[in-house]
Subunit: 263 residues, 2 copies
Amino acid sequence: MAKAQTTTNVVSFAQSSTACKKCSLHVMCGGEGAQGRSVFSQKSCGHNGRVIDRGEYLFRQGDRMQALYVIRSGTVKATISASDGTEQVIRFYLSGDVVGLDALGEQRHVSSAQALETTSFCRFALAEIDEGCARAPSAVRQFMRIAGEELAHEEQHAMLISQRDAEQRMAMFLLQLSEQYGRRGYSDREFNLHMSRQDVASFLSLAVETVSRIFTQFHVNGLLKVERRHIRLLSLEKLREVVGVPAGALPAGKSQHYAQGLN
Amino acid sequence: MAKAQTTTNVVSFAQSSTACKKCSLHVMCGGEGAQGRSVFSQKSCGHNGRVIDRGEYLFRQGDRMQALYVIRSGTVKATISASDGTEQVIRFYLSGDVVGLDALGEQRHVSSAQALETTSFCRFALAEIDEGCARAPSAVRQFMRIAGEELAHEEQHAMLISQRDAEQRMAMFLLQLSEQYGRRGYSDREFNLHMSRQDVASFLSLAVETVSRIFTQFHVNGLLKVERRHIRLLSLEKLREVVGVPAGALPAGKSQHYAQGLN
DNA sequence: CGGTTTTTTGAATATATTCAAATTGAGTGG
DNA sequence: CCACTCAATTTGAATATATTCAAAAAACCG
């Protein structure tokens, strides 16, 4: 189950230079110049690339932190298990996501990260990151940015999860996935779930049965077609209605916030 | 409601040098030396100190980020409001906590931060932080640490919230507060809630009525004495039992994690 | 193809919510 | 200082929603 495969190369790392330019840890990768980012665009970052099979772990809860990871392709789920044994999925990572940030605090991973399918990723050793930050001030900034995004993401997820009912959570989950796939150039209407119903249930804090029921309910109501792991969204609009958000949700806050007193 | 008070000084900033040494953004404060931390111990960091009254905001959701804040004394609640108007408390900050990290991503605050009582804090302008990071490599590391802790905290909270029932959440909430107060030198058995029942309910994703009911339930069962906002915990042990965690919970992960394949 | 796991479906139950109303407390102005 | 209003909290009863238990069906694995 946990044997490294050396033969199969799911992703060609050679062709990755364009993808690398969009990588959020790109600045950590190579080059010694502080300013010109264009320096990096010539380099392939593939030297960091690795692949793991489904079921294998990037790291486990409690492990001493050694690196950060950026997903190139595949899907990873992050889980936290409490001392009483209960385990919960707290996040799914797709390509482009940075994994492992939560360990920056105590230098130990608070969650486990497991591949749900064959997954390729880049590994950034802590030392590399330190170097990168020391070399380029922009790296520090970039790093802060990533951490902030992750934090904001987490807060918003917590908010969404706990305030909505089962239907809304499911709709939200699907819309989120749709958006993520869309942003990465895949179809936002049709995709495969790489996670089990159990995983989805855990992520949304629902019972497996409930997840199953709502899938069929959505299917019956014509919101989507579901066949095993294959999902085809028939109406993003209706899904959005289910979530209960009339206009734009998270994407852009067009609210009219007033000025604060002192700060 | 939002007038700055110039007369009252709740906290003497002069006496704060010892507290400052423990501040997690201490390294950002003054001094130009890169290494010797002892340099800073002489300085009072009070020059950053500010005070706001109950009800005032540190910042509001959507505001452009200008600074990070460290609470010196008082209580702050962070809320997120969705586009449909629903608002949720996502966190309470006490003295020593760093507020505003979630804005590091998009440079805009994802949540609002409002004082629940007269609150004093230090303000670290973004520029200061950049400087600090540029000056001292340790500052970068420290910063990463804070961000990581915050992230881990958020993940664990999400985990706890969503997997437990109302009683467990309440017990958890009280134990958490108890621990936080204890860590800060206050009594961990007796304290005042600076947040309303509504705030607690929102934070735990429960109805106000449920919070109220469980308070009285705990009271009747002898777990605590509650009178309005004043809480006196009579049995931390029983509260822990309610949460359902036999041994140690979050504090230290004594689990036997195995080595990962490659990483 | 047989054994095992995952997923789906059904029915009963439980838990927290909602609605409604009473009570308490805080703040204000006379 | 007291009466008053308004907001927060508590309590009760009915309801609703998701869970649990149980079992069948479908998919997966070797």
